[in-house]
């Protein structure tokens, strides 16, 4: 039995290494879905909120959190699902937004549409569809470089 339990900061650092299964360029911490990490006696409690109610990645995410923490020696683990306050793209980290853009996904904007094309940076963009390849994205295209791209919806 390990005698010292890892610090909460250490656990956050581990979770920041776990990629989002659908958008692997950002971590679960970048995505803002890890709401709390705390020790209750010898049990580690991790509170997770879903991005969208029906997002199929939610169960995969729980498996990956568990796998990552077990690999780091956590034995007693409790995953808590919390739906309120509901997830918002405001919780996406700045680091996460930068990584999304570099990956070719336009990060969410309060104005409701992408600031510019993630490929050529032109602001001449138009919406193709309100929904994209995952519940959290919409489809847009650039009318300058003519490339389609995903836009991370602002909610």
């Amino acid at each position: 039995m390990v005698t010292t339990r890892p610090s909460v900061d250490q656990v956050w650092a581990w979770l920041d290494q776990v990629p989002d299964p659908e958008v692997p360029v950002i971590s679960l911490v970048d995505l803002g879905i890890i709401r709390n990490v705390t020790w209750q006696n010898n049990t580690l409690e991790v509170t997770v909120t879903p991005t969208y109610s029906g997002c199929p990645a939610t169960s995969v995410i729980n498996l990956e959190i568990e796998a990552a923490l077990r690999a780091n020696g956590i034995e007693k683990l409790s995953l808590i699902r919390q739906i309120a306050p509901p997830w918002t793209t405001d919780w996406l980290s700045d680091n996460g937004k930068t990584k999304l853009e570099a990956y070719g996904i336009a990060p969410p904007q309060a104005a409701g549409g992408p600031q510019h094309c993630p490929h050529c940076k032109s602001s001449a963009v138009e919406k193709i569809s309100q929904f994209g390849s995952t519940p959290c994205k919409a489809q847009w295209r650039c009318t300058d470089c003519l490339e389609p791209f995903d836009y991370f919806k602002c909610i």
């Binding site: 879903p50 969208y52 109610s53 029906g54 997002c55 199929p56 739906i83 309120a84 306050p85 509901p86 918002t88 193709i128 569809s129 309100q130 929904f131 994209g132 390849s133 519940p135 489809q139 919806k153 909610i155």
Partner: protein, 240 residues
């Protein structure tokens, strides 16, 4: 606690989610196919919240899956509107627009519910449904104010489905909030959208009833359930 109100919310999203899933691979354009499937996904996810809470409050060990897969038509408490068949894209989108408009009004009211679990589900769902309504509104306007063919089809769909509007606002003690109080906000939004879409609101407010009380579902619900439930009915121990 009376769980019927929770079951009503969950059955609405379940049955409409299943209906929309029927379009998967068949929608008129790839983008629409993806959008319909994503909307269905949100609705099925919301179903899980509502029916799991219903099972928890009922305290007899039922889960969202038990409710979805092991009840017969007469035990369902969804609105007649959501069990109506897809028919064409016009009927599907008018049904969606009418439902989204009611749904958003209902969820906004439920955000203030005294029960924190009900409020939490409403807060989560309202975000998703705001987006659903934005999309169905855009399509109703685009196809209503579109070609002669698209306008005819949209008006036909509106005339066909309008008799299912009244049930959404028929209030009884099992409801989680006063549904009749939502009618004003619904009418305001629908009138404005129909004006922009050049469609005409039907004159008669005659309404079919019997879905949310379970007394008289349409024949369509049984067919929908037969498809949805076939696997767990035939192989009760199946896991996937």
């Amino acid at each position: 606690m009376n769980v019927t109100g929770l079951i009503r919310m969950g059955d609405n999203t379940l049955v409409l989610g299943q209906r929309l899933s029927e379009w998967c691979g068949h929608a008129p354009a790839l983008e629409e196919d993806i959008a319909l499937a994503n909307t269905a996904l949100d609705l099925i996810g919301q179903t899980q919240h509502w029916l799991d809470l219903a099972g928890k409050r009922e305290g007899q060990g039922r889960t969202a899956d038990t409710f979805a897969y092991t009840r017969d038509a007469w035990d369902f408490r969804n609105l007649l509107l959501v069990e109506q068949p897809n028919r064409d894209f016009a009927v599907t989108m008018i049904r969606q627009f009418l439902f989204d408009t009611w749904h958003l009004e209902a969820l906004r009211a439920l955000i203030d519910h005294a029960d924190p679990d009900i409020s939490a589900i409403a807060q989560k769902s309202a975000k998703e449904v705001t987006y659903h309504r934005e999309r169905s509104t855009d399509i109703v306007i685009a196809l209503g104010d579109g070609t002669e063919e698209s306008r005819d089809r949209m008006q036909g769909a509106l005339d066909r489905l309008w008799p299912y509007v009244g049930e959404m606002f028929a209030q009884d003690d099992d409801d989680l909030t006063d549904m009749s109080a939502l009618r004003q906000g619904f009418d305001l939004y629908v009138t404005e959208t129909l004006f922009k879409s050049t469609l005409t609101r039907p004159n008669s407010d005659f309404a079919h009833h019997g879905g949310k009380t379970g007394t008289r579902h349409s024949e369509h619900l049984g067919h929908l359930l037969a498809t949805m439930q076939v696997l767990p009915r035939n192989y009760p121990d199946a896991t996937w």
